[in-house]
Amino acid sequence: MNDTTPSAAANPRHTAPPPTERVAMLRWMRENLFNSPINSMITVIIALFLVFALPDFIQWALFQSVWSGDHEACRAATGACWAVVGEKHRPMLFGVYPYDQHWRLILALVIYLSVIAATMTPAFWKVKILMPLWIFNLIVTLILMWGGVLGLQPIETSQWGGLPLTMVLFTGTVVFGSPLAVLLALGRRSHLPGIKSICVVFIESLRGVPLITILFVAVNVFPLFLPEGLEFDKLLRVMAGMAIFFACYQAEVIRGGLQAVPRGQIEAAEALGLSYWQLMRRIVLPQALRICLPGLVNHIIAAFKNTSFVLIIGLFDILTATTAVMEDPVWRIFFVEAYLFVALIYFVFCFALSKYSQLVERWLGEGRRF
């Protein structure tokens, strides 16, 4: 593996002393900032803008901001009022969940996030480890949130709120939506015209309507579908709606992956005598899902962001909770700070996930196997 050595180093006669720090910096600037008249102009304009705007912003966000105290202190200051986050973070993060039970949600979040962290570690990528881990995770977090056993005070789903509710919706969407997505994708690839056309119509019509209308169906129409006396929890209905919506988008991504698996793979598996489901599960899907991994992650990120749509139908996810908190007349003028805080939570999660998927892609590109 010698081809990583630069060719100049291989030939010592041509090695010049490295340019000094100052010259290197100048050269970098000439190459990257002032490489043409237009680029020089753009650089100057942006630099001027930054010089004027950045200090003000930093003053506002850091030096003149209020980090703790009451709204009086905030109104007196010229900077940001981060105290609003300190004051209101409990209802923002946990909604209307009983205040003295918040420790349960914190514990559930810690467990949930650690399981996610573990899931992202290649060392854990074995069905034997991940399956029990996730089953344990779901059972424990749900017990913590629901209560009613082990002496925990029972708390109805209508009282769930904030970040844990966002996480529950997100997890439910992905966990229930993914298998459905695979089935829809396979159905759409079927050469039986009846199955194919039903899947096409289902996928395309749901992709053609906004998520809001699906949530309206889940809230307003779904109860009408059931015979008298039978009822489903609203949270569960909304989750089902989001899962189906998610599945339709994901099915299209998976279809792309399925198309990219070489025909020869299917033929070889068939020649060995594998049945349709065996060859799909063992040969085609593992390869297809690997191919379309970036698309899959994109839609998983979208599913996380889409949980915020429940604001419209009145489930108390983190955004609904924040909006409700910001109705407080004393604090409402500090909405920018509150929304920035919520935006930061979404951003951290989504950004981390997308960077992580790029990392996995690089691992796969390097031919690393797990």
Binding site: N32, L33, N35, S36, N39, I42, T43, I46, A47, L186, S190, H191, L192, P193, G194, I195, I198, S205, G208, V209, P210, L211, I212, T213, F216, V217, N220, V221, P223, L224, F225, L226, P227, E228, E267, E270, S275, Y276, W277, L279, I301, K305, T307, S308, L311, I312, L319, T323, M326, I333, F335, V336, Y339, V342, A343, Y346, F347, C350, F351, S354
Partner: protein, 431 residues
């Protein structure tokens, strides 16, 4: 459950898969007699093996489809019966007769005349128009911003590409709901009309929305509009003609430049010929509100800004990927042939980049249109908002939601048809 060997039969062409089923079944019988006489090897064995029809692919294929169809139809029927029974029990009317009843609610803004005496059907139509108003403007603005940011991300200017990068990463990793909500709140906290912010003379930002001056109506503008349309058509013809001219004579005519001259020059000429009429309708504060000029409601502004900023981040990413998808070897090859940069852009880079850019951009347009339904969240009277009001007043949830879905499906279908047409224009035929 689909039978094991099903994908096989479409192995070769795929196009004969269905026919093939039927062909197969009668061949089995007919081939028997014709085969025996031509057979060269006399030791023909009588085939053993399974002959049960239940293991036949054709039978299974039909059975699966019949089962699924039955499931869908019976399931639909069951739901239909339940819905009817439930509605009857709750005393809710069904059918579309509410369409002609008085809506009885006001709509904050409408591109056409509407009052609460009008019917539900008309109110919903206003909603459709309001949705289209957001979608249309949003798509144009998001395209401009997105293309600019996308090109900026591939710029060789380090500062510019970093700024664009920060924009894209922040905006696309925050939910669109939060974008819209944030801008709606920002608009709500703008000052009262009396203390309105004036970014430039005659324009005002305030909590009642945005007002800005527009030119007074004048018959000359109709001619300017006609001239513009003629200019666009002229530019298209010019492009065609220039290409033919180049093929015949080898001379290059800078079509883009001349196209711009025609598209801008013709309306300008028309305007000048009519005596260059220009008086501004400048908004002015009368009492508690502004009169004159063009006014955008705060909800409209917030919704457009929210969905635009969000979608533009995705379009920027698509544009960047499209530009970078053109292999560097292509550009090197073009340079080696001695093509000038603008030829390279026009004949090598753009056609290949557009092929990658157009399909995902189309789906971004669709998602922007669907996200315009967030109007319901901030009180903008879009289709979903008015549909929701209708739902609450009449209780006819099924019909109200069905209308929303049908309208959005039609819009989606229209946009994707249009984009497919465009895609066919830019798609490169390799084979």
């Amino acid at each position: 459950m689909i039978s094991a060997a099903v994908p096989l039969s479409c192995a070769g062409g795929g196009d004969f898969s269905l026919i093939h089923f039927f062909l197969l079944s009668d061949n089995m019988a007919s081939s028997e007699d014709s085969a025996t006489e031509k057979l060269t090897a006399p030791d023909r064995v009588t085939p053993k093996g399974d002959t049960s029809i239940f293991n036949s692919m054709a039978f299974r294929g039909i059975a699966y489809q019949v089962l699924l169809a039955a499931f869908v139809i019976l399931g639909g029927l069951y739901l239909y019966i339940n819905v009817n029974a439930n509605l009857e029990r709750q005393g809710i009317a069904t059918g579309w007769s509410f369409f002609n009843e008085n809506a009885g609610f006001d709509i904050g803004e409408s591109p056409i005349e509407y009052d609460s005496e009008d019917s539900y059907g008309f109110a919903l139509w206003v909603g459709v128009l309001n949705t289209l108003r957001v979608a249309f403007v949003g798509i144009i603005l998001a395209t401009i911003l997105g293309v600019f940011m996308g090109i900026a991300r591939t710029s060789r200017n380090w500062l510019l590409s970093k700024v664009a990068n920060v924009y894209v990463e922040i905006c696309r990793n925050v939910p669109v709901v939060l974008h819209v909500l944030f801008w709606a709140t920002v608009v709500r906290f703008l000052p009262h009309p009396k203390q309105a912010i004036t970014p430039f003379d005659g324009a005002f930002l305030m909590n009642r929305g945005i007002v800005f001056p527009i030119p007074n109506e004048h018959p000359a503008y109709i001619w300017v509009g006609v001239a513009f349309v003629l200019g666009v058509i002229g530019a298209i013809f010019l492009g065609r003609w220039a290409q033919r001219w180049r093929e015949m004579t080898g001379q290059y005519i800078p079509t883009f430049l001349w196209g711009c001259v025609i598209v801008i020059g013709l309306p300008l000429a028309a305007w000048l010929v009519q005596g260059a009429p220009l008086t501004w309708n400048v908004p002015a504060l009368r009492g508690f509100n502004f009169q004159g000029g063009m006014a955008l409601s705060p909800e409209y502004a917030a919704l457009v800004v929210g969905v635009t900023v969000y979608t533009a981040a995705f379009i920027a990413e698509i544009v960047r990927a499209g530009i970078q998808s053109v292999p560097h070897g292509q550009i090197e090859a073009a340079r080696a042939l001695g093509l000038r940069p603008r030829f390279i852009m026009h004949y090598v880079t753009m056609p290949q980049a557009l092929r990658v850019i157009v399909p995902p951009t189309a789906s971004q347009y669709l998602s922007l249109t669907k996200n315009s339904s967030l109007g319901v969240l901030i009180g903008y009277p879009d289709l979903v908002n008015i549909g929701n009001t209708t739902l609450n007043q009449t209780g006819q949830a099924v019909e109200a939601i069905a209308i929303m879905m049908i309208v959005y499906l039609s819009i989606s279908l229209a946009i994707s048809t249009f984009m497919n047409l465009y895609n066919r224009l830019v798609a490169i035929k390799e084979r």
